[in-house]
Amino acid sequence: MPLTTEQEHRNLAKRHRKARIFARFCAAVTWSGVVLLGLLLYQVSIDGFGWLDWQFLDSFPSRFPERAGIKSALVGTVWLIALVAVISIPVGVSTALYLEEFAGRGRIAKIIEVNIANLAGVPSIVYGILGLAIFVRYFALERSLISGALTMSLLILPVIIIASREAIKTVPQGIRSAAYSLGATKWQTTWAHVLPASFPGIMTGVILALSRAIGETAPLIMIGALTFVAFLPEGPMDSFTALPIQIYNWVSRPQEEFHELAAAGIIILLAVLLIMNATAIYIRNKTERRLK
């Protein structure tokens, strides 16, 4: 039975109303995510801001909240990230270069590729157990910075490899052909042309991967980074603590003051992450413009 004009009009109005409501609902949900981030940051800053001073940055942890600080955690994190960078960047970028430039499309390349995709999805705590059993126990590196750095490097390697491959893929084939036609070898082409051309993309991926390593807590707890360290590590074999570990320690205590200390620690941690992320976004935006 055909609809009358009036019914059609009503029907259409109803459908459009539904569409409007749906659009507003989706917008409201998304913006509430933004508001939530704002709320979270606000909450952390009103809790922790009062504790942020030079004394907080320059003191060791303490049973007394007013004397506690994050000096050893901050220094530990800097050590850790430096070691992770030294280990994971060469290995990760080399793997990406191998897969993109040298391995071809063979079976081995395919296996490595699938394998890396799966490694990227392994929970971080499993890497922690691996680090505990292999580096801490089997190689007897103890609960040292180097154990933590090796574990963390394995954790972020898939991220670096995947990001670097994406960057290398964007290098135009013409650049390689031009190098070959001038008589360059494969490695000369890769080193002098492909790598510099993909460098900004690789840097972005590396920075994001390292910022993930800064925030990871579970693997460090597994390998036994200490929660109370009243000294500064002086070499890779020293035991250490790191910012997220110190924050975890403070959050898990019942006293209100320690929660506020944790908030102050979180402000420092987020500030470090924000600076790294901003650098990555800056590099990305700058190179996007240049390539176009």
């Binding site: 929970p123 394995l154 925030g215 807590t217």
Partner: protein, 319 residues
Amino acid sequence: MTQEIDTDTPVAEIQDVPRAPASIKKSGVRWGEFLIKGWLGLCAFVSIVTTAAIVILLLSETLNFFDTVSPGEFFLGTTWTPLFEPSSYGVLPLVWGTMIVTIGAAIIAIPTGLASAIYLSEYASDEVRRIIKPVLELLAGIPTVVYGYFALTFVTPLLRSVIPDIQVFNALSAAIVVGIMILPMIATLSDNALRAVPESLRQGAYALGATSYEVTTRVVVPAGLSGVMASFLLAISRAIGETMAVTLAAGQTPNMSLSMFESIQTMTAYIVQVSLGDTPTGGIAYQTLFAVATLLFVITLVINIVSQVILNRFREVYE
């Protein structure tokens, strides 16, 4: 300035063509290239070694564990008290704890994440996208220990003011923060999937008189469904492996309670609990660590593989 080209002399008669240097004529193996390729291959091999190490380590210690505890007791037992007498090794309470936190997080994050993805890809202007995308990336980059802090100092007190008899450590608070944590992941990945749906499909549906709601729910989302489903699965696998927020918010009480207002313990929280204490190497408590980790590894691996299969096999390719 033009140079005269001698076109009369046949090419074969030109005498003083420089000879190719010997190194090109007799180019054998280039050792430098060979070594570098070897080094790069070695680096690529690290990832294989890592996987092998994880699998061998987890399997061997788990087999040791099964020498003492029967698989039947481990998989079917409903009491988990490995650290004190009388010890009992039924892993179900831990699996249950992980499951209710994950399901709670999924109930929160899947609808909201998908709605955000739809807003970003279908409704938002370019300027709005430029604001919201980085915000989502920032949310995704916040360390999980910070979400734990958020759960303990903000979500739980809020819940306690609404539901007075909720415990200090409870599954609900953990589920909420884990939901917030995986939301950006669902939103950004689904947004990518929806934006890959070609504009012509939308135009066609609009031309038939469909409203934006109908275009979105009956054309765009079905067309991008493989990517959307994959994003759900990856987020769920992330929630299962999530450690710090659930350890801080949900507590350390393995039980199979139906109530989300009570303290529970997830698989990951148990692993943290053992490693914080001083458990001797080789003991049965040390081996439970690997048994639980193996289970966690297998569950997340299966989910990740399923999501890859969905992506590869069911992807609609539009040219």
